[in-house]
Amino acid sequence: MSDRFERLGWKNKAFDMLNVLFLFGLMLTMIIPFINVLALSFSSGIASMRPEIVLWPKQFSAEGYSIVWKSLDIWRPLMNSVIVTVAGTVLHVLLSSLAGYVFIYPRLPGRKVMLTFILITMMLPQEAIMIPLYVVNKDLHLINTLSSLVLSGLVSGFSILLMRSFFLNVPYEMSESAKIDGAGEFRIFLTMYMRLAAAGLATVILFEFVGRWNMFTAPVMFINDSMKYTLQVALKAMIIDTSSNSGTYMVTTNVRMAGIVISILPLLAIYPFVQKYFMKGILLGASKE
């Protein structure tokens, strides 16, 4: 904000130093745990159990990963999570975009009623209807199915409004001329709006992907069958419920850390895109509230 030349005084310099140190200290609280986890996951089982600070693998081995994969069968919850995340995200984005598209027509009869209908769902905390939601899922025979997780939060007012604001940036004249050429609403939506609002789509996809990958409340409520566990639930059983042992099988620290690393890999893979689109989405979203 201020010019460089007025920062020459020693007070300013000292302040800058302290400021950077403060931020650096905060960053360390994120970096050190992460390095610690990574280093332990590549250590041997015995070395990982020793009480010392590990910032570099001790007795390097990938044993943690092979145990978590083969003996603890983490691939099954991993696959469940992939299915739920991908199916849920695709459907969520499609349905929310459809509704978002509808709301760009300012003179649509009944628009206000529909908008209020959606805004009310945004005021309603999901958690407050947790119990009846469980009953609804039970009545629909969805308990212990992955479908219940795909259906959980399948549409959200937040995404609808977000998509709407991205669609509003698409020039209106384009759809007008397409309509004169005889294109139907649905075709205009698919071929023009979905393509032109790609940045918006990316934002909603990322939001949903992260949210669904990390989804925890819904699987805890709707899933009891360990074959249907998602990664987060399986991970909780593995790293938190068993501080040192799980029945017959001892879960060593390196195995637990390997589980953590596997579960955050997809998130790290999309982080560059998050950087690009998330920030924009967050700001648009916050201004909506």
Binding site: I32, P33, M49, E52, P125, L154, F216, M221, I260
Partner: protein, 291 residues
């Protein structure tokens, strides 16, 4: 009618969304209200019992424990995760080197992307009394006795508050930074003309100009208080349960684990009412509608 026909495709596009909200939002809401007045069993008769469920909940000491825990932990999170990101945003704003600013922002944001299972798993390990880094530092650097953070009811609430702050501060910080960036630069120029130091610019320009962003953040955080669930579910253990079980945890235990759906639905409605009441109060206090 002509209009309706012209727009018919649009209404068709709305059908799935409306159907979804009817089945998975409105119906459960009504159903929940109904359940809260019933002696609800999964099978057989479900006689109406008036306000019996509500009074059962109100006479349950566990419920009041949960209310207190929610207010203490939620209030703590509300304060800390408002102040911490604000301080960080202001501090980041004073950093000259762009690369450092970007790197800091990037790293501070990462915990927000992680699930509570991962964050909980990492910190339970970091805080463990025998091999956690925190205790190693306490023992070897400060020559203190190791503290069993996760089993100490004195620490339990603090751990929950601080971890929630740690997880979300990078995210909230972005909101504040965006607010700072949109401050009119001529205000700073004018302040500098008047000889304002950096500190004075911060106090008299940046902070007052951020008030709208602050209101938004505060409102968003308030709405989150009563929803705390994942964090508690993951970090709780029998030793600290009495200090950390929040309202959502109470509802979950009553409804899903003990299958007492009537009282659980009643407790949910208290949560709903509290949320609405708090929203109104915060809106009134911050005069949000005037933004």
């Amino acid at each position: 009618m002509r209009l309706l026909k012209k727009y018919s495709a649009l209404y068709v596009m709305m059908v799935p969304v409306i159907a979804y909200f009817l089945v998975f939002a409105y119906y459960p809401l009504v159903k929940g209200l109904q359940t809260s007045f019933q002696d609800y069993k999964l099978m057989g008769d479900r006689p109406y019992v008036g306000f019996a469920n509500y009074s059962a909940v109100l006479h349950d000491s566990l419920f009041w424990e949960a209310v207190i825990n929610t207010l203490v932990i939620g209030g703590g999170i509300l304060c800390f995760s408002f102040v911490a990101p604000l301080v960080i945003a202001l501090s980041l704003n004073e950093v000259l080197r762009t690369w450092f600013k970007k790197a800091a922002q990037m790293i501070l944001y990462v915990p927000h992307l992680l699930s509570w299972v991962v964050v909980g798993g990492i910190w339970i390990f970091m805080l463990s009394p025998d091999s956690g880094i925190i205790n190693m530092i306490l023992v070897h650097v400060f020559h203190m006795k190791p503290i069993n953070f996760m089993a100490d009811s004195g620490w339990a609430r603090w751990i929950l508050i601080l971890l929630a702050t740690w997880k979300e501060m990078g995210y909230t910080c972005i909101l504040f930074l965006a607010g700072i960036v949109s401050i009119n630069p001529s205000l700073y120029e004018a302040a500098r003309m008047d000889g304002a130091t950096r500190w004075k610019q911060l106090i008299y320009v940046t902070i007052p100009q951020l008030s709208n962003t602050m209101k938004v953040v505060f409102l968003l955080n308030t709405l989150g208080i009563l929803r705390i669930f994942d964090e508690v579910f993951i970090l709780r253990n029998p030793t600290i349960a009495a200090k950390v079980d929040v309202l959502m945890m109470y509802t979950f235990q009553k409804g899903i684990l003990e299958i007492q759906l009537g009282p659980a639905a009643a407790a949910s409605f208290f949560v709903l009412l509290l949320t609405l009441a708090m929203t109104l109060v915060v809106r009134r206090i911050t005069r949000f509608d005037e933004v």
